[in-house]
Each structure stands twice: as structure tokens, then as C-alpha cells.
């Protein structure tokens, strides 16, 4: 009863909430792992695809270089044919060119010829010259930079190209047979490779990086970035409908370099973790409902158990109450049996009187009967008296037996004056022996209350005995009955020394006693017995000395 969790409903609610939290946590963890794994798989797939495509570029370069280097002069027609075929099959290769690199003069001389075939692309490519680092204005179609000129030999498509002049020196500086990459803006980059040995030819491909990822391969759930030298070529944001991520979780990230023969591209994928993906609302709702039902069932079960427990407790309390009452009854009986010892000599005297009278009268009657002329009138008169006398003795015995009996208390409407008279009959001789006079002031008609006669006699006997002990020889004990309102009162008072003020509050406490050989149970037992029949008992010291005990009982209702 101390913890609030002993309330089954509250406990169930707490358990339900805990289950929800656990579900959310577990769901977030598994979802996050699943989403990260998915991203990883997607990333690897993309990486593999892009790597293959990038590798193809190198293959094309090699093919074209091989084709153009095989004969002198270069078989432009065949090269163009292959280039057109490549361009047709691979839309991501936006432009292919076979260029010739030459010294400054040659480049300038050829520049006019090339001009007709190439269109200004409008692209300004900044190139760093070795040493000075200063930008130079780019030429159109063919040009030179840093003392190297570049001339387009074949270009497909003829009008889709860029001005290679700014890059001429760089391409010329490339290691032969190894491709190099150059950014070309708008998600495109250039891939150039010089022909082996002494040839001044080079092949340049312009790759549209955005087409390295086919539309159907694009993962809608992730933000895809393909970058070259830290600059994004392709930047595909995730579908906006997935919502923003959850702040406190590190979103899954995939990053891998595509190293395809000089084309160092970086593929990175980022995935946001929207709450809805982590904790699907439908599943949460379903779980909440199921857990709620379980919690409700638990609460109901606990409630039932508590109810059973309560009823068991109530039953046990009732049993204990009964046991206490039985013990009290036992104690009351033991106390009466104990009191019988004190009363015994008085009662023996009480019985001796009728026995004496009986014996004497019987002997007298016998003598009369044995006379020559028996006086029958006298004899029958004597026997009549004897019968009365024997009954008197029998009543006394019954009174004793009842008082010492161990029968269960039996509450019934009783005449309180009669109860007082019974007690007086039991205790009279004892009081005479103590030299204590008894005064009765019984109200008429007699008040009636629902009590057990024997127990009430016991209460009065206790009070009378205490009073007699208090006064000692020469004392007077007064017993009176009366009515006040709806209550009956039995008052036992004496002219002894009264009750000390400090003793008064403890008077009815068990085991409290002022007597040297007392148990301290008499008055507490009195209180118990009186309270059992809804009465109460009070003690006071009256002005002028002497104690007064008042037993108050509810008057029996008029029948």
C-alpha cells in the first residue's frame, strides 16, 4: 500500500508507456540499420556501375588512339566513323575529338583551317601556365597556350566541342598513355590521352557526368553527389517528400572513390532519417493498441488479484477479530475461575447454612416420625421447608456454576437490577468477611439492557471487589442503578481513599496495576466486556474521597 504502483491501473499505464518507448527505440535502431544497409548496397551498386562506365571511357580512348596512330596520316574517316558510333551508343559522351598538338607556330598556322570545322563553344577555360600562373584569353577552335598549339583533327559532333587551347599545354605535358581529367563545367569533364611514342596526337572525350547515373538508377531516397576534385559534377537531391531527418541521429552516409584510369570521381550518398521511416506510424499505432490491450488485461488481472487479496484480508481480519473475542472470552472465564477461589470460602459458608438447616430439620423430622405417635403435620411441614431450603442451596450452586462456566457469551435483554442482585448474592459473604457493608440503591422499574448476564456479573464483581479492597474493614460499598436518557447506568462507589490523579488515565490499560499481587487485567477486562455490548466504563474520584465507577449501557428498546 506504500507504492503508487500498487494501483494496478497506474502500473499498467506505466508498463504500457515503457513498452511504447522500448518499441520506438527498437524500431528506430532496426530501421536505422536497415536504411543504412540499404544505402550501402545502393552505393556499392552505383559505384560498380559508374566504375564500369568510367572504365569504358578509357577503353574508347585507347581504341581511338590505336586507330589514329596506326597510320600516317591519321585515317580521319575511320576515326570519325568510330567516334560517331561511340557517340551514338554512349549519350553520356557528349563530344569526342582527335587533336594534334604542336609547337606554337604550327598550331597558329593550322588554326585557320580548323576554324571552319569548329564553332566557338563560348566556353572560357581557365588554365594555369606553369611558372607565371596568369590567365590568358582563349582562342577559338584552335589555339595555343604557353607555346603549345592544339588543332582539332576530327571532332564529333563537330559543333558540340570546347576550346581546348587553354588546356593545350597541360595535355601536351601529360604522360603518354595515361589519361587525365579536366573539369568542363555544367556537370561535364574532359578526358584526354596522348598517343604513345612520338605522335603529337591526342584524343579528348567530354563526358556528361549527369548521364553516368541513369535516371532509373537514381536512388530517390538519397542525396547523390558525384564530384571531381572537390567540385560537384552531379548533385541530385533526395525526393523532398521523405521529409527532414531526425536531429539526434547521425544520418547514414556512403562515400567511395571511383578510380577509373585517371578519372578520380567521388561518389557520395546521404540519406536523411525521417521519423516516419524510423517509426512507421501504422506499426506504432498497432503496437500501441496491442500493448494497450495487454496492459488493460494486466490491470484487470491485478485488480482482480488485489480484490481477492482484499477479500482474503477482510476474511482474515474477521477471523482475527473472532479470535480476539474468543481470547477475551477465555480470559474473562479464567478471571472468573480465579475469582471463584476468592469467593469459595464465602460460597462454602453460603452453602453450609442451607445444609445445616436441612440436616437439622431432617433429623428432627426423623425423630418425630419414629415417635410412638408421629405428628404428621409437623413432619410434612418440616419436609416442606427442607424442599425450599434445598432449592435455595441449588440456586446458589447454579449461580456458582454459571459464574465459573465457560459457555459462549449469550447476549439477551436482561434486568440489570437482577444482575446486581446475583452479584450481591455471590459476594455478600466475601464482603461480610472483609467487614465491608454493602448498600443497594436500585431504581424501579429495573432498567434493561442487552448483555451477557455472566459477563456483566463479572464486571460488577470486579468493581465491587476493588471497592472492598480499597475501603478495607469498616468500609461501605454502594451499588446503584439508574437511567439517563437512553442509557442505563450501574454505579459502584465506595468511601475509600479514591483514585490517585496520575493513576486515573491508566486505569483501564492492560497490565497496569497498583496492587502488589495484581495482574492488571481486571479493569481492562471490564472495559473490554462492557465495550463488547456497546457500553462504556468510567472511573472518577468523588469529592470528599472515594472512587466511583460508572458502567453505561444502551437501554434495551421497549419491546
Amino acid at each position: 500500500m506504500t507504492s503508487p504502483l500498487s494501483n494496478p491501473r497506474l502500473l499498467a499505464l506505466v508498463l504500457w508507456l515503457a513498452a511504447l518507448v522500448a518499441f520506438v527505440a527498437a524500431s528506430v535502431e532496426t530501421s536505422r540499420t536497415r536504411l543504412a544497409d540499404e544505402l550501402e548496397v545502393t552505393g556499392r551498386t552505383l559505384h560498380r556501375l559508374i566504375s564500369q562506365r568510367v572504365a569504358q571511357h578509357d577503353a574508347h580512348l585507347t581504341t581511338l588512339i590505336a586507330l589514329s596512330s596506326g597510320a600516317e596520316p591519321a585515317p580521319d574517316g575511320a576515326v570519325r566513323q568510330v567516334m560517331e558510333s561511340i557517340s551514338r551508343f554512349y549519350p553520356r559522351i557528349a563530344w569526342l575529338a582527335l587533336v594534334s598538338l604542336g609547337p606554337e607556330g604550327a598550331g597558329a598556322a593550322d588554326g585557320g583551317a580548323a576554324e571552319g570545322a569548329s564553332q566557338p563553344a563560348g566556353i572560357t577555360a581557365g588554365a594555369e601556365t606553369e611558372g607565371s600562373g596568369a590567365a590568358q584569353p582563349a582562342g577559338v577552335g584552335a589555339g595555343s597556350a604557353g607555346g603549345v598549339s592544339v588543332r582539332e583533327v576530327v571532332a564529333v559532333p563537330a559543333l558540340g566541342g570546347v576550346d581546348l587551347a587553354p588546356l593545350a599545354e597541360k595535355i601536351a605535358g601529360q604522360v603518354r598513355g595515361r589519361p587525365s581529367v579536366y573539369a568542363a563545367g555544367e556537370g561535364r569533364y574532359l578526358l584526354a590521352k596522348r598517343a604513345p611514342e612520338t605522335s603529337d596526337l591526342a584524343v579528348v572525350l567530354m563526358i556528361d557526368a549527369t548521364k553516368l547515373v541513369e535516371p532509373e538508377e537514381r536512388p530517390g531516397f538519397a542525396h547523390l553527389v558525384l564530384s571531381l576534385d572537390g567540385k560537384a559534377l552531379v548533385d541530385l537531391p533526395a525526393d523532398a517528400s521523405l521529409g527532414s531527418g531526425v536531429l539526434w541521429l547521425k544520418p547514414p552516409h556512403f562515400e567511395k572513390v571511383i578510380d577509373g584510369e585517371g578519372q578520380r570521381l567521388l561518389l557520395s550518398l546521404d540519406r536523411s532519417l525521417p521519423l516516419a521511416a524510423l517509426v512507421p506510424p501504422g506499426r506504432l499505432l498497432g503496437f500501441a493498441v496491442v500493448a494497450g490491450l495487454l496492459a488493460a488485461a494486466l490491470a484487470f488481472g491485478l485488480g482482480q488479484r488485489a480484490a481477492v487479496k482484499r477479500s482474503l484480508l477482510a476474511a482474515r481480519e474477521a477471523e482475527e477479530r473472532l479470535a480476539v473475542q474468543e481470547r477475551e472470552t477465555l480470559l474473562a472465564h479464567a478471571s472468573r475461575v480465579n475469582a471463584m477461589g476468592e469467593l469459595a470460602s464465602g460460597i462454602a459458608h453460603e452453602l453450609t447454612q442451607p445444609l445445616t438447616a436441612l440436616l437439622s430439620r431432617s433429623q428432627a423430622a426423623l425423630r418425630l416420625a419414629r415417635a410412638e405417635k408421629p405428628d404428621m403435620a409437623k413432619i410434612s411441614g418440616a419436609l416442606d421447608v427442607n424442599v425450599r431450603e434445598a432449592k435455595r442451596a441449588g440456586e446458589m450452586l447454579k449461580r456458582m456454576r454459571d459464574y465459573a462456566s465457560n459457555k459462549a457469551p449469550e447476549r439477551a435483554r436482561q434486568d440489570l437490577n437482577a444482575i446486581v442482585a446475583e452479584v450481591v448474592a455471590l459476594t455478600r459473604t466475601d464482603l461480610e468477611r472483609r467487614g465491608v457493608a454493602l448498600v443497594l440503591e436500585l431504581t424501579q422499574p429495573a432498567p434493561e439492557a442487552v448483555v451477557d448476564t455472566i459477563e456483566m456479573e463479572q464486571v460488577l464483581h470486579n468493581l465491587i471487589r476493588n471497592a472492598a479492597e480499597a475501603t478495607g474493614s469498616g468500609g461501605v460499598v454502594t451499588i446503584s442503578t439508574g437511567r439517563v436518557g437512553r442509557e442505563a447506568k450501574i454505579v459502584v462507589s465506595d468511601n475509600g481513599p479514591g483514585i490517585a490523579a496520575e493513576v486515573l488515565p491508566k486505569l483501564f490499560v492492560p497490565f497496569f496495576t497498583t496492587k502488589a499481587d495484581g495482574m492488571g487485567l481486571g479493569l481492562s477486562l471490564c472495559a473490554t466486556l462492557v465495550e463488547r455490548v456497546d457500553g462504556r466504563i468510567a472511573a472518577e474520584t468523588v469529592a470528599g474521597g472515594g472512587a466511583r465507577f460508572t458502567v453505561t449501557l444502551p437501554l434495551a428498546r421497549e419491546a
Partner: protein, 193 residues
């Protein structure tokens, strides 16, 4: 006719004992409490007392002692419902005739009463003898004692160095004062005192 005075606070006991005694031809006068008896005792002729030991206010023993203070030493039989040894001892020390426990057997009571009557009678004789002997002079008492020893007048005269005539004159005086000329009667009175 001997008298019996019965003092007991229990009416039934009183009445039954008186009834029993009546069958023996003994009349008992009954009293419910010692005070009433004390109030009237002076008017009563000597008799045997049957007293309950335990009575409210004044006990049987106290009654006996009060009577003793007044010079009334009638035989007293104490009856009690308790075979209390201490009370019994006290009673006998005080000079009680007998001590009977209730319930009392009629024969036992009557026996005790007979003894009481005897001692009452003895008491009366003793008192009578003392009264008579008190009338005698010293010389007459001396002569009576010698007569009781069985001496003849001549022997008494020789012993007292008196004449036989003088002794005879004393003996005549003694017979006159004691109211009997029977030597045996005179001797009984002399011994009873």
C-alpha cells in the same frame, strides 16, 4: 429445666436447630444477632449458649468476650461453617465449652448441650456452696474441713484443744448455716467450693 440460647444470623439455621432441639425436649430461645441478645441477657436465667462464630458486625467470639466482661460465664458452644483451626484454638483458649462445625449432627449437638447443662449445674452448685460456706466463721470452717476428713468430734476437740461440747456446739451452728444436718451433704458442699 435447662435453658438454651441460640444466636445465629441465618434464620433457616436458627429455626431448624430450634426445631431439632424441641424433639429432644429442649427449648431454645433464638436471636438473629448478638446485639439483641446482649440487650436482653440480664433478664435471662442462666443457660447454655449456642453461638454462630461468624456474624456481621459482632462475631460469636466477641459476644462471648462481652458476656465474660459482664461476669456471665455460661457454657458456650460455638458453631461455624468453617473448620477454621485458628478460630477454633482461639475459641478454646477463651474458655469455650465446645466447637462444632456446620452442618451439625443432632446427636453431637445434644451431647454437647448435655455437657453444657452439667457444667452449668456444676457452676451453680459451686456458687451455692461458696455462698453457704461464706456464712461460716473461721473456726466453723476449720471444724467443717476436719469433719470432711472423717474425724469424730472427740478427735477434733483433741486436735483443737477444745472441749467436745464446744465442738458439738460449732457443728450445730454449721448445720444451721448450711441448712443441712446431713454430714454427707455438708462434706459435698465443702468439696464443691
Amino acid at each position: 429445666m435447662h435453658r438454651v440460647y441460640l444466636v445465629d444470623d441465618d434464620e433457616a439455621v436458627r429455626e431448624a436447630l430450634a426445631f431439632l432441639l424441641s424433639t429432644y425436649g429442649i427449648t431454645a430461645e433464638t436471636f438473629g444477632d448478638p446485639q439483641t441478645f446482649l440487650a436482653h441477657v440480664d433478664e435471662k436465667k442462666p443457660g447454655v449458649l449456642v453461638v454462630d462464630l461468624r456474624m456481621p458486625l459482632v462475631s460469636g467470639l466477641q459476644l462471648y468476650q462481652k458476656l465474660g466482661e459482664r461476669g456471665i460465664d455460661w457454657p458456650t458452644i460455638m458453631i461455624t461453617g468453617h473448620g477454621d483451626v485458628a478460630a477454633c484454638r482461639r475459641a478454646f483458649k477463651a474458655g469455650i465449652q465446645d466447637f462444632l462445625t456446620k452442618p451439625i449432627d443432632g446427636e453431637v449437638l445434644v451431647d454437647a448441650l448435655q455437657q453444657g447443662f452439667a457444667s452449668l449445674d456444676a457452676g451453680l452448685e459451686k456458687r451455692e456452696a461458696r455462698t453457704l460456706l461464706a456464712k461460716l466463721t473461721e473456726r466453723e470452717r476449720e471444724v467443717l474441713d476436719m469433719v470432711a476428713r472423717g474425724w469424730a468430734s472427740k478427735e477434733i476437740a483433741a486436735s483443737l484443744e477444745l472441749s467436745v461440747r464446744t465442738i458439738d456446739a460449732h457443728r450445730a451452728k454449721i448445720a444451721e448455716k448450711l441448712g443441712t444436718s446431713s454430714v454427707a451433704e455438708q462434706v459435698r458442699l465443702a468439696l464443691a467450693s
